[in-house]
């Protein structure tokens, strides 16, 4: 039983990372209808930047905001410089650009920091908690930081005029222009915020998976799965989807282990987690194409 709790807890911790990535994907999707395939590599690059700052002697809690600022700038720049001229380009060209970005960040990170795996120090104090051993300090830290980040972001979109303007620009660009909103800048800002959210995900997961240019490859797939399960059009849904996928993948492995222990028959285990996650996505999308929380707006014709 304790093992089950442990699996759920670590599932939530992983889920926090998936939720952040899913949200980053959704933020760009709702305003552009594009999936940013480079989101994972951008997050990886940000994690390297943070690591670099830490090795230069900055404390983690200074390095993190600096990294977020850097990532925000990178996101805004990518939108303004690379994607801006392609606003009316065919989808396939945009996909090629994203794949190009992915390759660029990947090889740039390899060139600057080499491909050797580096440990990333956890910023969270290694104290034991009441249910000692149930869940590690870093995992709790991951969940807390992710939840704080999400709360800030949702308050920003719900409560501030700029957040409202960004939502309006994503919902209906033409109408947004007609109320004086500079839609192009809103897009760039959205990119900046998405890159920032991704950066936090990268930095939080780096101590767990270790730092190297390939660190985000599998994780982005989970983030993508989370976004699809929750609903690619729904930021709140994507976050929920991320947590759901995180817990589910651990449950699957856990039940597989139980089964093997009970019957000696190996059906499923850690190796199949990704496959199962993708199966879940396909099942959800078959039953409910807009995702679990994908909102279909009520519209009177």
């Amino acid at each position: 039983m304790e093992q089950l709790f442990q699996q759920v807890a670590s599932g939530l911790a992983n889920g926090a990372i998936y939720a952040l990535l899913a949200l980053a994907l959704v933020m760009i999707f709702v305003s552009t209808n594009h999936i940013n395939f480079a989101q994972g590599e951008m997050a990886m690059f940000s994690a390297f930047v943070c690591w670099q700052l830490i090795t230069w002697g900055y404390s983690f809690w200074i390095a993190l905001p600096l990294t977020m600022l850097f990532s925000f700038g990178v996101g805004v720049t990518i939108e303004r410089v690379i994607l801006r001229p392609l606003h009316s380009a065919p989808v396939l060209s945009i996909v090629v650009v994203f794949i190009g970005l992915l390759a660029i960040f990947h090889s740039l990170a390899g060139a600057i920091w080499t491909h050797t795996v580096k440990p990333f120090p956890s910023p969270f104090p290694n104290v034991s908690f009441a249910g000692s051993g149930l869940i590690g300090a870093h995992q709790i830290g991951m969940i807390v930081v992710a939840v704080v980040m999400l709360a800030l972001l949702f308050s920003f979109f719900r409560l501030t005029p700029l957040g409202l303007a960004m939502r309006a620009a994503a919902l209906n660009p033409d109408s947004a222009r007609l109320v004086g909103i500079n839609v192009d800048w809103m897009l760039a800002l959205g990119w900046g915020l998405a890159a920032t959210v991704g950066a936090v995900a990268g930095v939080l997961v780096a101590p767990v998976v270790f730092l190297e240019p390939n660190m985000m490859a599998g994780i982005l797939l989970y983030g993508f799965a989370g976004a699809l399960v929750g609903g690619i059009t729904s930021p709140g849904g994507a976050v929920a989807g991320g947590f759901i996928v995180g817990v589910l993948e651990n449950m699957v492995a856990y039940l597989g282990n139980m089964l093997e222990r009970a019957t000696g028959f190996y059906l499923i285990g850690n190796g199949e987690k990704l496959t199962v996650a993708l199966l879940i996505v396909i099942t959800v999308l078959t039953l409910k194409p807009s995702g679990l929380f994908g909102r279909v707006t009520v519209k009177r014709v």
Binding site: A168, R177, V179, G180, N182, R300
Partner: protein, 237 residues
């Protein structure tokens, strides 16, 4: 006194095809002018061209200020409240958010707050529905919201694209009465596009009739509505 709107040699293109072939008209400050014409005549395109939402040639000036080369959002901030065809409400946002977002670029927040009160005097119904999702409003209420949203920009000029479209006659009358009040009480000049020519001519001071991207007749509303031939061939009543 300069005109509120001055349009000269306006041409507009959708890709390679030309929708407006050089249109001239002007709109005196404080007046209401209507653009009439059959489906596809180019009425919507004219409004879109004024706001630089299509590729255009020719000159447009708002209150003496040329809008050449300006982005749509910059033209809007000159005080042009465009109520687009199909209303363009943010259906997923609440009524309140629709109104608040229109005041986003305004510097004078106190004036924006007063304008919200003024909007409620024109559209008391919207006040009751502030928290409701805009997509769930009735058609008439959505049209009211679209006009109210444009008012929240503090406009000098409103461009209204078929505000009567798809609405029951009673609601249309109510909306047109409110438009007259907005014109008179808030001193907003209006360029009104309408299919319903009789209604538009009753409200407007002047009228222009378009056919396939050209002005085929213009004059005061009285002149246009008393022209038997124009009425029969273009206005269909």
């Amino acid at each position: 006194m300069s005109n509120m709107l001055e349009v000269k040699g306006l041409k507009a293109y959708y890709g390679p095809s030309q929708a407006l072939h050089g249109i001239d008209f002007s709109l005196a400050k404080g007046s209401i002018t209507t653009l009439l014409g059959a489906n596809g005549a180019g009425k919507t395109t004219t409004l879109r061209a004024i706001c630089n939402m299509v590729r255009t040639e020719g000159s447009v000036s708002v209150d003496g200020q040329s809008v050449a080369g300006k982005a749509t959002e910059a033209i809007v901030r000159l005080g042009v409240g465009h109520v687009p065809e199909g209303r363009g409400t943010f259906t997923a946002l609440s009524v309140e958010e629709n109104l608040r977002v229109a005041a986003y670029t305004r510097r004078d927040k106190a004036q924006a707050a007063r304008d919200l009160e003024m909007v409620f005097t024109y559209f008391p119904r919207l006040k009751e529905r502030m928290a409701q999702q805009a997509g769930t409003l009735s058609g008439g209420e959505q049209q009211m919201l679209a006009i109210a949203r444009a008012l929240m920009l503090g406009p000098r000029l409103m461009l209204l694209d078929e505000p009567s479209f798809g609405l029951a006659p009673l609601i249309v009358q109510e909306i047109f009465r409110i438009m007259r009040r907005i014109n008179q009480e808030s001193k907003v000049s209006m360029l009104l596009v309408e299919q319903n020519a009789a209604l538009a001519l009753a409200l407007a001071d002047n009228a222009y009739v378009l056919e396939t991207g050209r002005v085929v007749m213009s004059g005061t509303s009285a002149e246009v509505s008393s022209n038997e031939q124009i009425r029969k061939s273009y206005l269909g009543y």
